[in-house]
Amino acid sequence: MLNEAGGVIDDLIIYRLSDDELMIVVNASTRENDLKVLKERISNATLEDKSMAYAKLDVQGPKSKEILAKYFDVDLDSLGFFSFVQTKVFDSECLLSRTGYTGELGYELYIDAETSVKLWDALLADGAKPAGLGSRDILRLEMGYSLYGNDLSETITPLEANLGKFVNLKREYFGKDALAKQKSEGLTRILLPFKTTTRRSARKDFEVYQNDKKVGFVTSGAFSPILNVGVGLAMIDIEGFDKSQSIELRDTRSSIEANIVSLPFITK
């Protein structure tokens, strides 16, 4: 969802539940503003904030299908990537979606809060491991997925975030004119993936230098336990930048050598 300058108000997902019903899933931290913007922009529909009624469980990993099959009367083999079913678990409504933020086989489940606790306990008893945001951040970063607040924000457009392949300039929507203009004028900066040359990791807001000249800033960074180096994304000024030359990621204390790479960081 974009502002008029093409910047990102939020990175969200929309489920078409029926011909006239949409479920919009937003970032918790931007929920209030998202609701305000949606109310301002939508006049031909009623909007209900059901955030407090739902919990969302992400079950991700190679065994996720196997472990969920026990609880769902759904043919999980026929649930394709980026599709969903409205079904039940423990006799309660559940929207089961084949989506995720980890790059692994996985599912996102929308259930009422009480049932979600029951399912959580059951899955853990079956051998699923609880994972925190730290590990989730490494997984999504290893895939090169953007995180709102870091790689996307009100001052970063999807084109600058290198998501141009998801931008449709033929439709009409808030921010589209700004994006079309940005595209025709050419981007001045772009989000690029990098790998460090040691085990050191850069973090958000580290400055990026090339040949002792500041060329940008890090938007996301973490240590990849699979690659044993730091990985991350940085917003780089295009003019004069040489992708084939190494860069330095600096904060007040350190300077870390890195190189621009292409995604994916990890191939299966």
């Binding site: 730290g134 490494i138 040691t198 085990r199 050191r200 990791s201 973090r203 973490a222 240590f223 336990p225 204390r253 350190s254």
Partner: protein
């Protein structure tokens, strides 16, 4: 017998040589350690000076030497496998010093005093 500093380093002396590491509490706060920078051999360090540097999944932190001395050894295994500290912080030294002033240990905390100190944090 270990002595502890308020910044969660420990020292164990054997004759003139001190081994220095960080406490289990420190390692717990840091989370999974991903990178370590060790001091150079022969480096002269003064009490309180930054001697090493640790990066974890959550944070980056300096490690300060609790006592003065000359660096005579470093735990090179930590360069490739810093997670060894997560496995056994108080059994894993980071660097060794030839101690210049043994009396500096007098102001450090015993295990008991450190345990009490931790409860105030």
């Amino acid at each position: 017998m270990k002595k502890f500093s308020e910044s969660h380093e420990w020292v164990e002396i054997e004759g003139e040589v001190a081994s220095v590491g960080i406490s289990s509490y420190a390692v717990e706060q840091l989370g999974d350690i991903t990178f370590m920078e060790l001091p150079d051999l022969d480096m002269e360090l003064s009490k309180g000076e930054s001697a090493a540097f640790v990066e974890s999944v959550k944070a980056a932190s300096d490690i300060y030497t609790p006592i003065s001395g000359t660096v005579i050894g470093v735990n090179e295994d930590l360069l490739e496998a810093p997670e060894a500290l997560n496995a056994d912080a108080e059994g894993t030294f980071i660097f060794k010093l030839k101690v210049s002033d043994v009396s500096e240990l007098d102001s450090m905390m015993s295990q008991e005093a450190y345990d009490t100190y931790k409860e105030t944090l």
